[in-house]
Symmetry: C2
Subunit: 321 residues, 2 copies
């Protein structure tokens, strides 16, 4: 069995596991984006998942795949915020305990929500190195089951359930624009869509660019730390597995500027009346900036997360509303 | 033919007229409100109509019902904001010219959007008396076709199309919570839902209370000017026709405080990830405040509008997020 066959099997299993626990999220036509682009544009509202992002898919699947172990050992994860909340929620739903390692610089809203969901939050220093060092140390010290945010089979399989849903809702033949960071959602989506005849682009902040550079180099490339308003798209390097799968299944990676991300979040709030965090609006950013190659196929923008405070949203969107 | 029979016929005609021009708006299950209330709660996203509110239904219907006249004379309307944008949009769609009378105190966002849509905006003094005086004067001076925001048969019939959509989407047997001001949407909704076996409550700011007092008195009651964060629910008196119809078809009127409206807008933004103006969230406010009489029937909150700037939304929701 090839890696891809194994993954597609795991995505099918994930779908069955999650079907009683998550409702399909809405797929809405955007008349304003459709008019602007001259082709039908749909929005996939992962913002309406429990905890406000798609991350409940991989969190639930990763715990359910090893439920007895998760219950006896507790779970451990590290996250820039959305995976943290999702793991906290999934752990509570499934009767286990979550410990989450987060940087002090993470959005206060995301830290507060993670605690409200009952997780023990361990704050570490403000670098990925410190976050991973802390996480691996806690894994050894506590014996908890570690859930990888983007680079395990269970994570990518959970992510891939989104694409199965899209195929049922739309039918196929579309182009999906997927915000990407470590690459889990990008991998899971493209793995499902390619054999179904739909295509996938990852969209990433220019400030990051690690996935785009990795696509060009043919191997995962690590970038230097950077700042972006897309605080959910900050992995410095794609995962090994997620990169391999995405590169073999996706069309490519589009880069968007900070201003384009801000404009997209403003568009979502003011025109679409949807609260979307800048990282979650990356697909819309690429579309509004004319970065998607021309074509007539329908477009689906995955709105991957909506966890942003209103003050921050007003600030981000202010210059571009 | 009774007034009600005439109205139901007009709603059917409106449905046929609007069917090629407006997409049905989404009806989404709210897991968080359902969990809180112990019954299924759905949200009807009129925020996703063109111009961000349900008002395109009555605006389009009122112009289409007298299209030749509208085209030769131009149209005239007065509005606190959402009807203004809707008439401007509908006039542009249908190839006629709109003049809109708005108070200087109206939300700057709503005034700017109305102008962007090509309407001529006439700013009047900050009282309803001045607004109506200006509007009637302009009707005489310009010969334009005046569109009433809530008290004509065509307006109420356009509003009623929302309820036909709800019945198709849900099936029936639910309780609808409808923000109410002059009463057009309240009347159109309850007229359709009552014979179909679903019930309707109007929801109004306590600061206003004109519809609640009118229900109690049995005749339209005018209240003194007041302030509310629900800037779309500011009519001082229900329309004669809209009141008569709503009182004969609806269950009653629920009142919500300013704090409850703010909390509802915050809930919509932070939990539902939907941008809803405080007035548009009045149904959610009543529900969160426990003001809906107990029962087990599903609840539908009509989110009637989403036209609010992000700074203002942050300010309103800030104390209650």
């Amino acid at each position: 069995m090839t890696e891809m066959e194994e993954l597609l099997g795991a995505i099918g299993e994930a779908r069955a596991r999650l079907s009683t626990r998550l409702q399909p999220t809405p797929l809405l036509l955007s008349p304003s984006l459709s008019a602007r682009c001259g082709r039908k544009v749909f929005l996939k509202l992962e913002t309406r998942q429990p905890t406000g992002s798609f991350k409940v898919r991989p969190a639930l699947n990763a715990i359910l795949a090893r439920l007895d172990e998760a219950r006896s050992r507790g779970v451990l994860a590290s996250s820039s915020g959305n995976f943290a909340q999702a793991v906290a929620w999934a752990a509570r739903e499934l009767g286990t305990r979550a410990m989450i390692v987060m940087m002090g610089s993470t959005s206060p809203l995301k830290i507060a929500r993670t605690r409200e969901l009952g997780a023990e939050v361990v704050i570490c220093g403000d670098s990925f190195q410190e976050r991973w060092d802390t996480t691996y140390r806690l894994e050894r010290e506590t014996g908890r089951l570690m859930l990888h945010p983007y680079d395990s089979l269970e994570t990518i399989a959970g992510d891939g359930t989104l694409a199965l849903e899209l195929l049922e809702q739309h039918g196929g033949g579309f182009v999906a624009l997927v915000p990407t960071s470590g690459g889990g959602l990008f991998a899971g989506t493209s793995a499902v869509l390619k054999p179904a005849g739909a295509s996938t682009y990852g969209v990433q902040p220019e400030a990051n660019g690690s996935m785009a550079r990795s696509f060009a180099a043919g191997v995962p490339v690590q970038v230097e730390p950077f700042r972006t308003i897309a605080d959910s798209l900050v992995a410095l390097k794609p995962g090994e597995t997620s990169f391999r799968i995405a590169r073999s299944s996706a069309e490519g990676v589009l880069l968007v500027s900070e201003e384009e991300l801000a404009r997209a979040a403003a568009h979502c709030a003011l025109q679409e009346k949807l609260v979307v965090e800048p990282g979650g609006a990356a697909g819309v950013a690429a579309l509004l900036a004319g970065k998607l190659p021309a074509g007539s196929a329908d477009v689906v923008c995955v709105l991957s997360g909506g966890n942003i405070g209103l003050d921050r949203l007003a600030e981000v969107a202010g210059g571009s509303g």
